[in-house]
């Protein structure tokens, strides 16, 4: 599992991904960790297949008892099917996840972890002195979907928005936006169902000061590529399967 520190300040952001040991027939995912002095938040911690390498990777940054919070942007298995395992490993943790998916996510088993339902209009996650904003991203692609924005680090964890499916050797940041576009086009057109939802999200996100846009698959965008992505996504017609 490759680990890349993408922010270092009063707290840290670490990106985990490009797992070489992952079975070839499951989709590659990026996991993110926000680390404060005594706490640790896992953003979209991944599928059950990924639990062991992910836990092993996190142990380079935090002890088990300081993994206090999990966040699931939506209900998909590549996002959170490891929940049942985290549930048995962590004795004092919270899962922040869409309220509308609570009854569904509990199928993965959630006995010791406290489910903190996120209402449709979003909210915040407080990790010691760090306050993260939960940004609504409904229908992008899931009907109950959220992203996480850190105003201090200027990072937006954008779930499936900005995603691309790539090989385990690909770089973690987009280095040539024009070349990267084709890797994202079908993904966004096919997985994202609503042009209206897309417009609302772009309007909301354009008001945020973002240095890094960090999707759950593929490469992250930084600097001017963030605006390039938003402009490109704005012009894209989605929901092409109907």
């Amino acid at each position: 599992m490759k680990m890349t520190k993408i922010y270092e300040g009063s707290h840290q952001w670490i990106m985990f991904g490009r797992d070489e040991g992952k079975p070839g027939n499951i989709v590659d995912t990026n996991q993110y960790v926000v680390r404060t002095a005594n706490r640790c938040l896992l953003l979209d911690p991944g599928g059950a297949e990924l639990f062991a390498p992910m836990m092993a990777a996190v142990l380079h940054h935090a002890p088990v008892d300081q993994i206090t919070d999990l966040f699931a942007s939506h209900q998909d298995p590549d996002v959170i099917s490891s929940l049942g395992l985290w549930d048995q490993a962590l004795t004092n943790a919270k899962l922040h996840a869409p309220a509308i998916w609570e009854g569904f996510l509990r199928h993965y088993s959630c006995e010791s972890i406290e489910y903190v339902p996120i209402p449709d209009n979003g909210g915040t996650i407080k990790l010691e002195s760090v306050e993260l904003q939960i940004i609504p991203a409904h229908y992008l692609h899931s009907s109950g979907n959220f992203h996480v924005y850190d105003p201090q680090a200027k990072i937006l964890m954008s779930g499936d928005v900005g995603a691309a499916i790539e090989g385990p050797d690909s770089p973690v940041f987009v280095d040539n936006f024009a070349a990267h576009v084709e890797k994202m086009r079908y993904w966004h057109q096919r997985w994202m169902p609503s042009n209206q939802a897309k417009r609302v999200w772009i309007e909301r996100v354009r008001n945020l000061d973002i240095d890094i846009l960090a999707p759950q698959h593929g490469r992250m965008f930084k600097g001017d590529d963030v605006k390039r992505f938003l402009d490109w996504f704005d012009a894209l017609q989605v929901g092409i399967a109907v």
Partner: protein, 202 residues
């Protein structure tokens, strides 16, 4: 999923399947008892010895139904325990793998507690499963006892039926159906016991 886990799931699931067949047969015995009672009533003095037997048959059928109902509830508990054990074993294996992969990590040692806890939970589940299997085998033995009693009643029924003149054929048919049902119950329950006996607490 290991072969042993698969076998365990199959063994527990087969109990419910075998016992639903036993339930059908027990209800058939109950019907046969009602039928026999009506025949014996019509036969009057000719089937005097048969009348108390019909009550035995009916009582036996009712008790068997009650026992099987309880065992089915118990089998469901056993199934849940099997699922629980499967999840706990899977977690233990993943935790061990995580601990191994984390060798050299700054906080690798912190994984030991979850590994130990998962191992204990898994072992608790395995012990509980064996205990519950032993109890279930005891309940199945009670059903077998009922099946054996039903066969004795069927043999007595045949003797009494032979004294019943023109009602002989009808009452013999009742005796035959009770005997056949007892055989079916015996065979089905025996299959449950064989499937479960390898998990018995030693």
């Amino acid at each position: 999923m290991t072969n042993q886990t698969k076998s365990q799931f199959i063994a527990v699931a087969s109990i419910t399947s075998e016992l639903s067949a036993v339930m059908v047969v027990a209800k058939e015995i109950s019907l046969a008892a009602a039928n026999a009672k009506a025949i014996a009533f019509r036969a009057g003095d000719k089937a005097k010895g048969f009348q108390p037997i019909t009550d035995f048959i009916n009582e036996l059928a009712k008790e068997t139904i009650e026992l099987v109902t309880n065992i089915n509830i118990y089998a469901l508990v056993l199934y849940r325990l099997t699922v629980d054990e499967f999840q706990k074993t899977a977690a233990y294996n993943k935790f061990e793998l995580a601990a191994k992969m984390a060798e050299g990590a700054v906080y690798a040692k912190s994984m030991q507690e979850p590994v130990d806890h998962a191992r204990l939970s898994m072992q608790d589940c395995q012990r509980q499963f064996k205990r519950d299997v032993s109890q279930l085998l005891g309940q199945l033995e009670a059903v077998m006892h009922h099946a054996r009693a039903a066969r004795v009643i069927a043999a007595n029924s045949r003797i009494e039926a032979s004294q019943a003149g023109e009602y002989l054929q009808s009452l013999q048919a009742v005796a035959e159906s009770v005997d056949k049902a007892a055989h079916t119950i015996h065979d089905n329950v025996q299959r449950c016991r064989i499937a479960l006996s390898i998990y018995r607490n030693s």
